[in-house]
Symmetry: C2
C-alpha cells in the first residue's frame, strides 16, 4: 500500500493566521521538529515576499533534514515577464531547496477578472513557470488555486489548467479549496474525476471556512488523492487550514492508511510545541491533541470511563501521546472526586469526600477553577485531608510604585516566617509591582530553602472573572513554574491582582517543597 504523503504549511499558510508571528529562529525550530516527527514536505515560506522568509531559507541551507523535503512557495510568473526576470520564480530557483510549490489560477473568473488576461495566456504562464523550475532540476508541485470553485463554474477550463501543468512536467497536481467553502461530496466527486483523467499524483489543500477542512481532506483521499496538505493545530488565515493533528490520526487509525510518521504518540507534543512557539493559547478542545480531548466532567461519563474507557473514548489517548483527565466541578459527584484523588494517590473515605467536595464548590463559587491548576488542587486536598501546613508564612507586604516622566520604580517589602519562627524581612525592586513582590518572596525564602533557586516561572496569566466589574472585579491568576524537570500550575483569586499573584506564587513554592520532601522520603 502506498503511503499518504504529508505536506505541512504551518510556516507559510499558518503564519498568515491572525495573531501569529514567527521569528526566523521559531521557524527553524519548528521545521526541525516537523522533520523528526516524519513530515514528508515542509513548506518554509515564500522566499521573495518578506525579509523573514528570505532569512529562513538562507539559514535553512545549513540545516540537515533527516527525512523532510524543504519546499519554497511562490506564485506562477507575472504577466508579461519572463521567468528568468520574475522575482518570485527566481527567488525560488535560488532558494537552495530542491522542491517548489507554485500556485496558479484555475478558476476562469479569476483569470479574466482578477489577472485580466486571456484564458490561453494563463495556460502559458502555468506551463512556463513549471518548465523553468523543472529545467533547474526541482521537484515541482502545481497548486491549482480555487480548483473546486473553478471546476464547478467551468469544468473544462479548470481541467485544461491541470493539463498544462502536467504537460510542463509538474510532479504533483494539488487541488486547492482556497476559500474553504466546498462540501465534502463535491470534493470527493471532483477529485475522483481528476485522479481518473491524469497520470500525475494528486494532492488536496483545504481550508476550514465551512468547518469541513478535515472532512474534505479525507474525502479527497477516499477519491484517490495521495498527498494531504495542512498545518499543525489547523492554524492559518481566516478559519485556518486543514488540521494535520486531526488528519494524520484519522488516516492511520480510522481509515487504515499508512503515512511516514514513525511514532504517532509524538503528535500531542508536536501540537504543544507549535502552540508554545507561536505563543498561542493552546486549543483545549482540539481533537486528539487538546487537553480537553480526553477530559471527563459529567458524573455518568466519569464513572463509566473508569469501568471501561471504550465507553466514552473513541481511541486510547496514549496512541497520540495524550492522556485522560478527570475534571472536578459542580457537575462532579463523589465518584469523580475519588477518581481524581486516586490519580494523586490519595484514599478518601466518604465523610472526608463530602467535606472536600463542599469546600471545592464554595471556592469555585468565589472564582477558583481547579481544572487548570492541579498543584493548587493537590495542596488543598492535602491541607484538608492530611493537615498539611505550609513550611513558611507571609505576615504582610507593602508595594510602592512611583512613576514620573523621568523615572519608574517598583519596590516590594515582605515579612516571612519559617516553621521554627525565624523571620526574614526583606525587600526587592522589580520591573513592575508583581515582579518586585515575586523577587522579594524568593529572596526571603531561598535563605531557608536553597532548592527553591531552581524554580522558575514560565507562564503567568491574569483573567478578570466577572467582566462586568472590570478593574474592580475579582481576578484569577494562573502561574506555571518549572524546576527544569517538572512543571506545575497554581491559582490565586482576589480583587487585588497582587494578592492573587502572591497566593499563586506561594502555592507554587510550597508545592515544590512538598515534592522535594516526597522525593527525599522515597
Amino acid at each position: 500500500m502506498e503511503k499518504i504523503q504529508i505536506y505541512d504549511t504551518t510556516l507559510r499558510d499558518g503564519a498568515q493566521a491572525e495573531g501569529i508571528s514567527f521569528s526566523t529562529e521559531d521557524k527553524l525550530d519548528i521545521a526541525s521538529k516537523l522533520d523528526l516527527f516524519g513530515i514528508d514536505y515542509i513548506e518554509g515560506g515564500w522566499p521573495s515576499s518578506n525579509p523573514k522568509d528570505s532569512s529562513f531559507f538562507d539559514s535553512a541551507k545549513n540545516s540537515r533534514f533527516t527525512h523532510a523535503k524543504l519546499t519554497a512557495f511562490g506564485s506562477t510568473r507575472r504577466v508579461g515577464l519572463a521567468c528568468s526576470n520574475d522575482p518570485s520564480i527566481k527567488s525560488i530557483a535560488e532558494s537552495g531547496v530542491k522542491c517548489a510549490s507554485i500556485f496558479g489560477k484555475s478558476w476562469d473568473f479569476h483569470v479574466t477578472d482578477a489577472l485580466r488576461i486571456s484564458l490561453d495566456e494563463n495556460l502559458e504562464i502555468v506551463a512556463d513557470s513549471i518548465s523553468f523550475l523543472k529545467n533547474r532540476g526541482m521537484e515541482v508541485l502545481f497548486c491549482a488555486e480555487h480548483f473546486f470553485d473553478g471546476y464547478l463554474h467551468s469544468p473544462d477550463y479548470a481541467l485544461s489548467v491541470l493539463e498544462a501543468a502536467e504537460s510542463a512536467g509538474a510532479d504533483w497536481l494539488i487541488l486547492c479549496d482556497t476559500n474553504g467553502g466546498t462540501l465534502p461530496s463535491a470534493v470527493e466527486d471532483i477529485t475522483a474525476i481528476v485522479v481518473e483523467q491524469f497520470r500525475t499524483t494528486v494532492g488536496i489543500h483545504a481550508h476550514n471556512d465551512a468547518d469541513l477542512a478535515v472532512a474534505n481532506t479525507l474525502a479527497a483521499v477516499s477519491a484517490g488523492a495521495s498527498m494531504v496538505q495542512g498545518t499543525i493545530n489547523g492554524i492559518g488565515e481566516r478559519c485556518g487550514n486543514a488540521n494535520l493533528c486531526s488528519i494524520i490520526p484519522n488516516l492511520e487509525l480510522k481509515m487504515g492508511l499508512k503515512t511516514n510518521i514513525p511514532d504517532l504518540s509524538q503528535l500531542t507534543a508536536i501540537s504543544k510545541f507549535v502552540s508554545e512557539t507561536a505563543n498561542m493559547t493552546v486549543g483545549r478542545k482540539l481533537p486528539y491533541v487538546g487537553t480537553s480531548a480526553f477530559a471527563h466532567k459529567g458524573g455518568i461519563h466519569v464513572s463509566a470511563v473508569l469501568k471501561d474507557s471504550r465507553t466514552y473514548e473513541h481511541i486510547d489517548p496514549s496512541i497520540v501521546g495524550n492522556e485522560r483527565r478527570i475534571l472536578i466541578s459542580e457537575l462532579s459527584g463523589n465518584s469523580s472526586l475519588k477518581a481524581k484523588l486516586g490519580e494523586l494517590g490519595i484514599d478518601l473515605d466518604d465523610e472526608d469526600g463530602k467535606r472536600i467536595l463542599q469546600r471545592i464548590k464554595d471556592m469555585e463559587s468565589q472564582g477558583y477553577q481547579f481544572e487548570g491548576a492541579e498543584a493548587s488542587f493537590e495542596l488543598l486536598i492535602r491541607r484538608m485531608k492530611d493537615g498539611l501546613r505550609p513550611p513558611f508564612r507571609v505576615e504582610g507586604f507593602r508595594i510602592f510604585v512611583d512613576v514620573t516622566e523621568a523615572n519608574v520604580s517598583s519596590e516590594a517589602s515582605i515579612k516571612v516566617f519559617d516553621v521554627s519562627g525565624m523571620m526574614e524581612h526583606t525587600a526587592a525592586n522589580g520591573n513592575g509591582p508583581v515582579n518586585a513582590l515575586d523577587r522579594a518572596v524568593r529572596k526571603a525564602l531561598e535563605r531557608f530553602y536553597p532548592n527553591l533557586k531552581d524554580v522558575k516561572l514560565v507562564d503567568y496569566k491574569v483573567r478578570v472573572i466577572d467582566g462586568k466589574e472590570a478593574t474592580g472585579a475579582k481576578v484569577r491568576v494562573l502561574m506555571r513554574n518549572t524546576d527544569g524537570f517538572d512543571s506545575w500550575t497554581t491559582i490565586g483569586v482576589s480583587t487585588n491582582v497582587i494578592e492573587a499573584s502572591l497566593s499563586a506564587l506561594l502555592d507554587s513554592l510550597e508545592y515544590k517543597l512538598l515534592k522535594s520532601k516526597e522525593a527525599t522520603a522515597n
Copy 2:
C-alpha cells in the same frame, strides 16, 4: 420542502465543557435568545441531576417561548425500578415542559458490560421509559447512545433498540455518535439504512472527537435525517458537540435546505452572546461567526479581496451578520494599510503610509498587537497623520499597597493637566492597585470632561507577551469600554502591569472625547 429541525443542547451538553459553568440566570438568558433566533428545540438540562438544572426548569415554567419547545433531558429508567419510582423519569414528567429527550443504550457491549443486564431487558427499559412519558402526553425523542459504534459492532441489535423505541411511540429516533469517532461515510450509510427501515423521523447528534462533527451532521442530513442536534460555538464535553453556528449556514447556504431560522444575520450575535455569557474567550477562527472568519492578512489576499470579495470569501459575511476585517501586520503592504485606513475614513498619501507602516512594525516588535485594539490604532494614526494631541496629560502617579493579616489597602495618587494647563492632583482607594489608579484618573478627568462619567469598563485582560520572562516580562493589557451605545478596545504594553493598564485607560478616555467631539461637529 420540509424544514430541517434545529435542536440546541448548549445548556446541557454544552455545560459539560471544561471551563463552562452557567448560572440559572445565564441559562434563562440563553434560552430566551435561542428562542428568538428561531431554534426549534432547546434542551434545558437534566432536571434531576443537580440543583442548578432543577431551578432552571422551575423558573422556565414562567417563561413564554415564541417558537421553541423547551426539552428536558434524562436517561431511560434504572434497572429494576418502575418508571413511576424512577427519580430521573419522574423529574422529567414533573418538569413542566412538553418535550422529553431520553437516552438509552444501543451498543450491545454497553448493555452487557456497563449496565450488566440482558439484551432483552434493555429493550424493555427503552420501551417502558418512552411509553411512560408518551402516556403523560409528552413529545418524546429517543436518543440512541453510541448508535454508530453499536451498529458497526452488532447491526441487528442496534436496529432492534430503535424498533423498541418506535413501537413504544417515540416521536424521533436520534442517532448519537457519542464518542465522536465515526467517519462521515459510515454515518451516511448507516443513517440511510435507518431512514429506509423506520417510519419515525430521524435526527443526528454528533461530537467532534475526530474533527468531523459538522461533516457527520451534514452526511446524516444527506441520508435523510431531518433533525440536527448541536450547540452554539460547538461547546461541549471533550472536543465539543457539532457546532450549530457552522451547520445552520451550511444547510441553508451550501445545501439549499430550509430551517425555521427567520434571519440568519443574527448568527454572529448569538455566537458572541453565548461566548460572553459563558465568559469564554471567543474562538476567533470559528467558521462563519469568528472575528477572523473574514479577516485578511496576506498582502495578495487583501488586494484581491478588495477588487472582488468572491476571490477569497466563500460567502458575503453580512449574510451571517459578520464583517470583513483587514489586518495590519508585518505581512501587510501599503495596500492593506490604505484599505484599513479607508475603513476609518482616512486618506493617506504614500509618504505618510511608509512612515506609519514603519511605526506600526516598530510597535509590534515591542509587543503591541493592533488587531484586537482598533481604538488605539485609530488614535495612533490620527496622532501621526493629523497631529492629534490628547486633551489631557498625566504627569506621574504613585501606587501604595499595604497588606497585613488584618487589613488590605490600595491607594493611587495622580497629577493630571488639561489643555489649558489646569492641574488636578487627586487620589483614590480601590480594591487593588489597578482599580485605585482607574478611579483616581476618572475622578481627576471627570472634573474637566463630565461626559466621561458615562464611560464604563466592561472587559480587562492581561497577557504576558513573552512567557519565558514570567513576572518580569512585558505584559499586554486590553481594555474594552462602553458609553452605553458603543464599545471600543484599547491596548497598553509595559513590563509594569499598572503602567500598561494606565496607557490603555488613557487611550480609552481620549477615544471617547474624540468621538464626542466628532459627533458634536457633525
